[in-house]
Amino acid sequence: MNLVQHEKPVWQVSVNNYTQVPLICSASADKTAKIVDISGKILKNIEGVHDKSIRTASWRPNAANPVLALGSFDSTISIFALESGNWEFLAQLEGPDNEIKRVSWSASGTYLATCSRDKTVWIWEIDEDGEDFECVAVLQEHSQDVKHVAWHPKEELLASCSYDNTIRLWRQDDDEWLCVSILEGHDSTVWGCDFDPEADSMRLVSCSDDLTVKIWSMVSRNGGYDNSGERLPSVARWDVASEEWEVEKVLPIAHEGTIYAVKWGPNGLIASAGADGRIVIYNRDTSDWKVHKVIENAHGVYEINSLDWSEDKLVSGGDDGSAKIWNVSS
């Protein structure tokens, strides 16, 4: 079903699953973002805020009222909040040199991560009032355009993936955010990644221009983050933390074009989509991952840029300017 129609491609769809009634935001190259309910009713059309394409949108978890972050090719980030029935333009964040590619809130709602074509990942901390943003880190280790950032569902663990073919994982140590792992294994641009929504799982799924979808899992960790209590807190910890992540599984090859989006659903299903206009759903039966369902030409002849889950429903956004919603039974 068509949820919403933009004049230009939809770059990202984002579902707010934290409210009683899910809200869906579509961010578009037509410089607008639309907030709709699950029936497609437009609740808010955000326009005139960004000078260029709105590339990305993310809803803040753990917020009393819905709070939305938007990132644009005009290099700024805007924050909107629903207060007493009005969508307030709460704040604007500037700093990165150029196009924002993705914004993402941490599970606690304390941090907002943004990434940009300028090869950096920024982490912003929001204060208790939810109004003051402070930059707590500028991570500059990717050697190319950073395409995507995603947070772990429980821990303050951030993943970023890049045109440099790697995924990097970041954690906080004292007051610094440090790279704790570099996941190498894709042969081309890593366009997206998503953590397993199971709070205690240490798994990540990634999709790439190399036409594969891979599941990574943590195999070991050492240094810095040992919270077992054996260490005296007053002893300076000079050892740098690191984690080892390995490819646990390469999902069955099911795409013929660049895979732009991958999303791990609360129902345990993984969905991927991309340049071939195909949405592929994978499920895990007993021991192995299988292709569960394929939706061909989901947006006609157009490419699909983004996916998000709302319970058993999947939302997709494509170059045809539409956001669509699909029923997917497990």
Binding site: I79, A91, T120, D132, Q144
Partner: protein, 519 residues
């Protein structure tokens, strides 16, 4: 490219943009008879030839980088090529050749004319026709001491020995004189602003960033020149007067902790007459690489020069204000700018100091209270890009130049309602020492890296100890007046002050950006 220079080294914590957007100007020689049309062929070596003549290669200078709104720092290739140790060796070689040639000429044509005699007199003091001088900042001396496990006096002796004995430099000086003038001038500037905010501007990474991206911030930047530039100005003035030589024949090399200091030295306003105050900046990293690759030696094996003192003094400019060993100044490893101002307040023993540690070690506030416990001065020491972001953001919100958002309006209301600020508010401060590198200048991009098994934090903390071991120059107003007296009627404005201006965004950059775009 130098072998030890990688993109990592050049990353002085503020990354350059993706592509150079400076439109390259090619100087077109007056076209020949065929009215602008020319046949371009490719020579046997692959180089393009126009009508058989080699075409000039398009080059981008450091000045171009400074004037451009594109990348934040500059193309690394430009930096490395124009201000490298190789360039220094080239200059030394050129000077030697020039001196050989002119000596031969002297033999064949004995000087008869007055002009020639003057010329010869000038050369009397400089066997190579050029005078080379080196200034070394205390951070670099500490880095060399730490990197090679030496004492500071040993480092100074080795520097003296290598640059004077091996390379034929006239003398080696510290930058503490220039720094002391810079410190005192900063105090005078802050004091004259009657409570208005001043942001320090001696970090070239920070000032370039402000000039290229934050128009609203420039009004707050201190206009005091850095120790590097004041030292250069002093050296060129004193030496050229004393030796009666043209300032252009003095080649001043500065050993500095960071690559952005090269860009600073290239700013067009930093001139003494028509000579650059600083001709070349090299970092500790580049220096030790030069020893290895060009001299097949390392810093430890350079001999110590023990009879230094008298010998050294005889080579310094006669009027050089401090003939003692090279010194340093009190306070942070970035020069102690805030510490100097705090010390002025603390001279009054009824005043007291309160230190407020911020969110991280690179964000510390210092408040001075008077006998009635009223806050009379607020300063802060802010290092690193992320902390810079936060002060820039606060100042922009205050200036009302950012988009009108709900949070900004409420913040205004809040600050009116309650005078007691809950959060750090940079706009009610009087002086903020701002450095682009986390940890300040001791952790500059050109400093020697720790061995693989030593964590950076440990390394920096040990380096700080080394730095603090360097004896300090006791700076006071008398000293300032005495130094300025030596400049004999010279404009203190020219010696001590400079200006910063916003670099407008060039619309032609848009197309350049899209060329390099990868979605």
């Amino acid at each position: 490219m130098s072998t030890i220079l990688s993109a990592d080294d050049l990353n002085d914590f503020i990354t350059p943009g993706l592509a150079c957007i400076k439109p390259v100007e090619v100087l077109n020689p007056v076209s020949g008879p065929n009215n602008g049309s020319a046949e371009i062929t490719i020579g046997s070596d692959g180089a393009p030839l126009e009508e058989g003549q080699a075409l000039p290669q398009a080059q981008i200078s450091l000045q171009d980088c400074l004037a451009c709104s594109g990348c934040i720092t500059s193309a690394e290739a430009v930096l490395v090529e124009l201000q490298s140790p190789k360039e220094l060796l080239k200059q030394l070689e050129l000077a030697k050749e020039a001196s050989k040639k002119s000596n031969n000429a002297d033999v064949m044509n004995p000087p008869v004319q007055a002009a020639d005699r003057v010329d010869k007199l000038k050369r009397h003091h400089s066997p190579h026709g050029m005078e080379f001088v080196l200034s070394v900042c205390p951070q670099t001396r500490a880095s060399l001491a730490q990197g090679f496990n030496l004492s500071i006096p040993e480092v100074d002796q080795k520097l003296e020995s290598f640059f004077v004995e091996t390379l034929g430099f006239r003398c080696v000086v510290g930058t503490e004189i220039g720094r002391s003038l810079s410190l005192e001038e900063s105090w005078r500037e802050t004091n004259s602003k009657q409570g208005q905010l001043t942001l320090s501007s001696i970090c070239p990474g920070w000032t370039l960033y402000a000039e290229k991206t934050h128009k609203e911030i420039i009004q707050y930047l201190s206009t005091v020149r850095s120790p590097q530039q004041i030292t250069g100005h002093l050296l060129k003035h004193l030496l050229s007067e004393e030796l009666s030589i043209c300032p252009k024949t003095i080649y001043h090399v500065s050993l500095m902790p960071c690559f952005d200091k090269k860009l600073e030295s290239a700013r067009p306003e930093f001139m003494y007459d028509d000579a650059r105050e600083v001709d070349l900046v090299i970092t500790a990293k580049e220096f030790i690489d030069m020893l290895q690759s060009q001299f097949d030696t390392n810093f430890t094996s350079i001999g110590n020069k023990n009879q230094v003192s008298n010998d050294r003094i005889s080579r310094l400019p006669k009027l050089w204000p401090s003939a003692q060993d090279m010194l340093s100044n009190d306070g942070s490893g970035s020069g102690g700018y805030l510490a100097y101002i705090l010390a002025k307040y603390l001279k009054d023993s009824t005043n007291s100091l309160e230190v407020v540690t911020g969110k991280n070690n690179d964000f510390i506030e210092y408040h001075i209270r008077n006998a009635n416990m009223e806050t009379i001065f607020k300063g802060a020491q802010v290092n690193g890009f992320r902390n810079i972001q936060n002060i820039v953001r606060k100042l922009k919100l205050k200036s009302g130049n950012s988009k009108s958002t709900t949070a900004a309006r409420r913040a205004q209301v809040r600050s009116v309602r309650s005078k007691q600020a809950q959060n750090f508010d940079v706009s009610d401060h009087q002086y903020v020492e701002v450095m682009a590198c986390p940890g300040g200048c001791l952790n500059g991009g050109g400093q020697i890296n720790p061995p693989a098994d030593v964590p950076l934090k440990q390394w920096i903390s040990d380096l700080e100890k080394k730095y603090q071991q360097i004896p300090n120059l006791d700076v006071n107003s008398d000293l300032y007046d005495k130094y300025l007296g030596l400049m004999k009627g010279m404009s203190t404005e020219k010696l001590l002050r400079t200006q910063y201006k916003y670099i407008e965004v060039d619309d032609s950059s848009v197309s350049a950006i899209s060329v390099g775009t990868q979605w």
